[in-house]
């Protein structure tokens, strides 16, 4: 086997490892959201297990990247591939940590009926899982354009976070008994918003890997102007005021 073939095998293996780590990260977010939305405690240990597995995979892949650099001295697109792998495993590890942080809110949210429906959390999670999935696919398929599109979708997640934040604060002001649960809802939505940012980081690295240049900041400028939802008038995302009154 020629050295290029050996090297190519190593790169293929590295790609597979990163793809499988990304798969676990997606699984972790989905399970974490299921845990708090369905109030099902059985999922909590599963998320913690996934988080640990993701962490150990990060160690394995980082070591693999260093081995490839030391033994094969990659250049050009090969070097960008290895450096991208090293960077995005950190993002995937952070995603795993956030999934674990989300289930930390399980006890508080399970005991609270105030935000029982948590519609926007589910919707946000759906968007975020889609973003992480697409970030992973853009890496696997070396698709720079779909990597760039992640930034537009991140704006949507940011808007949802802002909306959630303002709505929950409104409810907390109305009823101080909801402060604990409300704070946890804000935390969970914040974690999801951060996961979306990590998906964008992955997209940014994929862009660099494919194009060999940094993504122009102008091309990923967020349009926060469009996020003008008046939460006082539209609290419907979280169920009616009547439902909230019940608690």
């Amino acid at each position: 086997m020629t050295s290029r073939l050996v090297f190519q095998n190593e790169l293929d293996k590295l790609n597979e490892e990163v793809a499988s780590m990304a798969g676990l990260a997606v699984q972790a977010i989905e399970t974490a959201v299921m845990c708090i939305v369905d109030k099902d405690a059985r999922w909590k240990p599963e998320v913690e297990r996934l988080d640990k597995e993701i962490y150990s995979l990060e160690q394995v892949i980082e070591k693999h990247c260093l081995d490839v650099i030391a033994l094969h001295t990659p250049v050009a697109s090969d070097l960008r591939t290895v450096s991208t792998c090293m960077k995005i495993i950190t993002d995937l590890n952070r995603i795993g940590r956030y999934a674990s942080d989300i289930v930390e809110s399980y006890e508080v949210l399970a005991a609270s009926n105030g935000f029982s429906r948590m519609v926007s959390i589910e919707h946000m999670a759906e968007l975020v899982v889609g973003m992480v999935n697409d970030a992973t696919q853009s890496f696997i398929k070396r698709d720079a354009e779909s990597a760039r599109e992640l930034f537009q979708r991140d704006d949507e997640v940011d808007c949802l976070y802002d909306t959630t934040f303002r709505a929950v604060v409104t409810y907390m002001i109305e009823d101080p008994r909801k402060i604990t649960a409300g704070t946890h809802i804000i935390l969970v939505s914040r974690y999801l918003e951060r996961i979306a940012d990590h998906a964008c980081n992955i997209g940014e690295r994929v862009w660099y890997m494919v194009m060999g240049e940094r993504l122009n900041p102008k091309d990923r400028k967020k349009d926060r102007e469009s996020c003008n939802i008046d939460v006082q008038k539209e609290p419907v995302h979280y169920g009616s005021s009547h439902e909230l009154e019940e608690k």
Binding site: F7, T73, L79
Partner: protein, 266 residues
């Protein structure tokens, strides 16, 4: 003296074999320019054009301009010996003379003599013999410049063949430096050396660029990446890409360059 090289429309044929095709390239002073490419791509042919070494190959035809400090070195009026003095060359295998270490360095300066300022109208520069002391000083200077002095100063009269391969190569570099060139050409200078000797030569190359224009042909891409400021990639006689070494190794513009440096071709 500037020492910059400007190559325009360079074509070389060996009988019917078109070895270099319309090469255009500018080589800057105080820089190391690396020439890379697979075997038979014309990189050695190119570097040998720079000091007219191809003149000695029968049925080799060179067309185009190679200007050093604005002078075409292929001009019929050019003294080829003077061209090769100004543009020194070190080859793949160390080739010291079968003489003492001292004599290896002293030989060429003794032959060339020392240039003296012209004395009258119409008279060119005259050459005068070196004194023994001047020769000794020049030998010491050359060996120091080639980072070999400390290793050989106590055995200057021993045969050059008693030196290791790496030392012999540095002796050849010192020998080229002794005639005060402006440009130094290296044709795979480390291919016969071990990694430690290679590292010493590479350090020396980086040091030499402060005073000289350096051109190096290398098969070792990592060597080009380590030492060169600019890199030219040749393939089948064509200059495919020429640019800053960082750009060539991080984001080559041409697909062929990418394929070669990543080992997918060659």
């Amino acid at each position: 003296m500037d020492g910059s090289i400007s190559v325009s429309n360079l074509n070389v044929w060996f009988e019917t074999n078109h070895a270099l095709k319309d090469v255009n390239l500018n080589i800057n002073r105080n820089e190391i320019t690396a020439i890379i490419g697979p075997s038979g791509c014309g990189k050695s042919t190119f570097i040998r054009c720079l000091n007219r070494m191809n003149d000695i190959i029968p049925k080799c035809r060179v067309e185009g301009r190679i200007e050093v400090d604005g002078e075409d070195i292929n001009d019929k009026k050019m003294d080829v010996v003077e061209v090769r003095r100004r543009i020194g060359m070190v080859f793949q295998k160390p080739n010291p003379f079968p003489k003492s270490i001292h004599e290896n360095i002293a030989y060429a300066p003794r032959l060339h003599g020392r240039e003296e300022a012209s004395t009258g109208k119409g008279s060119g520069p005259k050459r005068k013999s070196f004194t023994k002391q001047e020769i000794d000083e020049l030998v010491e200077w050359s060996l120091k410049r080639a980072a070999l002095w400390d290793e050989v100063k106590d055995r200057m009269n021993k045969s050059a063949y008693t030196l290791s391969g790496g030392q012999q190569q540095r002796l050849c570099i010192a020998r080229a430096l002794a005639v005060k060139p402006e440009i130094m050409l290296f044709d795979e200078p480390c291919s016969a050396l071990d990694p430690i000797a290679t590292a010493k030569i590479e350090d020396l190359l980086v040091d030499l660029k402060k005073d000289y224009t350096v051109v190096i042909v290398t098969h070792n891409m990592q060597q080009a990446a380590r030492v060169a400021d600019r890199t030219a990639f040749f393939y089948l006689g064509d200059l495919i890409e020429f640019g800053e070494t960082k750009q060539i190794f991080e984001k080559p513009l041409q697909k062929l360059t990418e394929q070669y440096i990543t080992g997918r071709m060659g």
